[in-house]
């Protein structure tokens, strides 16, 4: 099985360890993983900002780079959903591209969903010591139904104690460009998320989208919390945390 790994622009720039963790998890499960070196961004920021031509150009570029693989795997619910769901709506007047987008959408998966639903992994390589609470990122949760998958996988990691927080499904306030257009509102929403995290008593918070994690970590630190770890679920599963 040949899997194309779309690492996402944020992981490429900010936290390559998430990309390597995803790579390890997929290879460990027996996949032949290819990381096309021309990949950049799926185009979600352009699409959500109202730049349709920019978003379409990046969608075509991504489709062309990844349509040759058996599966496309993304360590992010929102980027995964952008390829899986939003690409389909972009090409109403271009049937050829619509067909290519449709074909690829069906083979595109968020990482934890892929590990559970497609690969049906029995074991993961990681081990971890400590309590973890899980933040459900909005798009993964509400559009792709990512809820049980990361928890099922975390349950396979020796030493992880999952402590659910109240409000785990509430938005952290990131919202892509929202976080810099309305920074004050975004940070105030993040504060509420951090309060939920603190109330859970967990020593670490994990999630599946780096955007949310940067937002949460940035707010925790500004609130004076120097100890709560903020981790991508792939890092824990791969034993890279």
């Amino acid at each position: 099985m040949r899997v194309g790994l779309f690492v996402t622009c944020l992981v490429d720039l900010m936290r390559p360890s998430i990309g390597f963790a995803a790579l390890k998890l997929l290879e460990n499960a027996g996949c032949e993983v290819v990381v096309p070196d021309t990949q950049t961004c799926c185009g979600q920021p352009a699409w959500n900002s109202g730049d349709k031509p920019g978003a379409e150009a990046l969608a075509k570029k991504t489709i062309a780079e990844f349509e040759g693989f058996d599966y496309v795997v993304v360590p992010s619910g929102s980027c995964g959903d952008h390829i899986r769901t939003e690409y389909l709506g972009m090409f109403a007047t271009e049937p050829e591209w619509r067909d290519r987008a449709t074909a690829m959408a069906a083979r595109t998966f968020e990482l934890t969903d892929f590990l559970v639903s497609v690969l049906k992994v029995e074991a993961v390589p990681g081990s971890y010591t400590g309590s973890v609470t899980y933040h459900d990122s909005c798009t993964g949760l509400r559009s792709l139904g990512i809820k049980a998958q990361p928890r099922m996988l975390l349950a396979k990691v020796k030493g992880v104690e999952l402590k659910e927080m109240n409000g785990c499904e509430e938005c952290c306030g990131f919202g892509g460009t929202f976080s810099v257009k309305f920074g004050d509102v975004s940070a105030a929403i993040a504060e509420r998320k951090c309060d939920f995290i603190h109330s859970s008593g967990a020593r670490a918070v994990a999630g599946g989208d780096l955007g949310c994690l940067l937002n949460i970590e940035g707010k925790l630190r500004r609130m004076g919390d120097e100890t709560t770890r903020v981790l991508h679920v792939a890092e824990i599963l791969a034993g890279e945390a």
Binding site: D12, M14, P45, E170, G176, V180, G183, A188, R221
Partner: protein, 470 residues
């Protein structure tokens, strides 16, 4: 109503800095959400009921002219008058004319968001007619210097018990009371006199039933019945999209509206009002007028925002919105706040007058999930952003920035170089620290939180190095 949505950002910051408001918002936040979730449990099939409700609303807005004509015909048969208003100014003119014709000096009002859209109270006052708001929330706002509502079903939700205690003590000149029943009683005592002396009652309408020519009213305080039955003249003001075909359809929608709005399986009062008082009847108005208002709605029909017309004004979207919960309704700057307001305000009050609103959302889709008529609010907000960009309404720096970024992202080599440079710059900003406390290119981010430092090299660099070594 005057639109102040261009000040959204400043308004939002002011809301965040308002300690009293923040406390009130925190208190209100959980209640709507928890009660709705509880109330939905006794619906056998929420999804199925929602699909049915969506189908009813679609059926109407797909052929709105037809259903409006049917409604008009039936309403005329019951002895009502049906008037059509193009915009808010025409609403004010028509209602003032009706009041003059019947020698009206005082109008009691049940809640109507459309009268807020039209600025009707100000117009009535200017014509020497006294409007009296009788919904408790609306009454509180009216006596507080005509403060605008901050929520479509709980207009004074931004106020605390203490705020109202102070206000009533001041405007009623009575000893300060701190118990809710005592405050409510005080308002009732003031309003009772108005109910008995007003010559005209004015209400909104939750639904217009085409089959019978009736208006359906959902209320919790009983004031709606006073307003619509005691005075000799009753005026109903609604948007033209509020019509539904049958009473059977009304029962379907009513399974969702109170549950979605206040978390009640049924509201305390639910009235279906049909026609004028008949000779053998004791109650009801002698004259009944429907003022059916366009105010931008007809322009939405058949376009890319068509689905918004399904809205039944329950308020669930704002109750579940992280942005609304954080800043409250006033920041949105017009009649309708929250996600539905961020779609409606640009459509009804001008896209150029509300540049920030479609962007004032994280697109978390909590609103779309709870909407009882399945309006894809995040998608509509995104389309509005697209319209703004196409019309050149976004700031030039943003447009150039987005374009440049999208262009670079299409040139892998250039992009890789840019990322390589960018990550080193960020690492340099962080220095030895694991975080950046001031991002010069995005100071909005770091005003309220830190920005975690990057690991130091891009994934693609490290991956290439690893492949080389292997």
């Amino acid at each position: 109503m005057e639109i102040k949505s261009m000040r959204f950002k400043a308004n939002a910051s002011a809301s965040l800095a308002n300690v009293v408001l923040q406390g009130n918002l925190k208190n209100a936040k959980g209640k709507f959400v928890t009660k709705r979730a509880e109330a939905l449990k006794d619906l056998d099939d929420f999804e199925g009921t929602r699909d049915a409700a969506k189908a009813i609303r679609n059926k109407v807005i797909d052929n709105l002219d037809l259903w409006l004509e049917r409604f008009e015909r039936k309403a005329l048969d019951t002895g009502a008058h049906v008037l059509w208003a193009k915009d808010g100014a025409e609403v004010c003119r028509l209602v003032t004319e009706i009041a003059r014709k019947h020698g009206v000096k005082k109008v009691t009002k049940s809640k109507s968001m459309l009268s807020e859209e039209a600025g009707l109270n100000q117009a009535l006052e200017a014509a020497g007619i006294q409007p009296v708001e009788t919904d408790l929330g609306e009454y509180i706002l009216q006596v507080d210097n005509n403060e605008p509502p901050s929520h479509i079903i709980a207009p004074a939700v931004h106020k605390s018990l203490d705020d109202v205690a102070d206000l009533f003590h001041k405007v009623h000149g009575t000893p300060r009371k701190t118990e809710i029943p005592a405050l409510t009683r005080e308002a009732r005592e003031v309003l009772r006199g108005h109910f008995l002396t007003a010559e005209m009652g004015l209400s909104g309408g939750n639904f217009l039933v085409a089959e019978t020519g009736s208006v359906a009213l959902v209320t919790n305080e009983g004031n709606g019945r006073m307003v619509t039955t005691l005075p000799k003249v009753h005026v109903v003001i609604t948007g033209i999209e509020k019509v539904i075909p049958t009473l059977e359809d009304l029962s379907t929608l009513m399974r969702l509206l109170p549950r979605s709005a206040t978390g009640q399986s049924i509201s305390n009062y639910f009235s279906i009002l049909t026609g004028v008082k008949k000779p053998e009847e004791h109650d009801g108005p002698e004259h009944l007028y429907f003022v059916l208002v366009d105010s931008g709605r007809a322009d939405v029909i058949g376009g890319e925002f068509h689905e918004m017309l399904r809205c039944i004004r329950c308020g669930a979207c704002m109750n579940h919105c992280p942005v609304y919960q954080t800043i409250g309704g006033h920041a949105y700057g017009w009649v309708y706040p929250g996600p539905m307001g961020s779609v409606l305000t640009p459509l009804y009050a001008g896209i150029e007058n509300s540049i920030d609103l479609p962007h004032a959302a994280t697109l978390c889709n909590q609103c779309g999930i709870v909407c009882p008529v399945g309006i894809p609010l995040p998608e509509l907000l995104r389309k509005l952003r697209e319209k703004q960009t196409d019309a050149g309404l976004r700031p030039l720096t943003e447009r150039i920035g987005l374009r440049l970024w999208a262009w670079v992202a299409q040139q892998p080599k250039l992009y890789a170089l840019g990322a390589r440079f960018g990550v080193r710059y960020l690492k340099w900003l962080a220095g030895k620290s694991d975080r950046i406390s001031l991002l010069p290119m995005a100071p909005e981010w770091t005003r309220g939180r830190d920005f975690p430092a990057p690991q130091g090299k891009t994934f693609r660099e490290m991956y290439a190095a690893r492949r080389k070594a292997a």
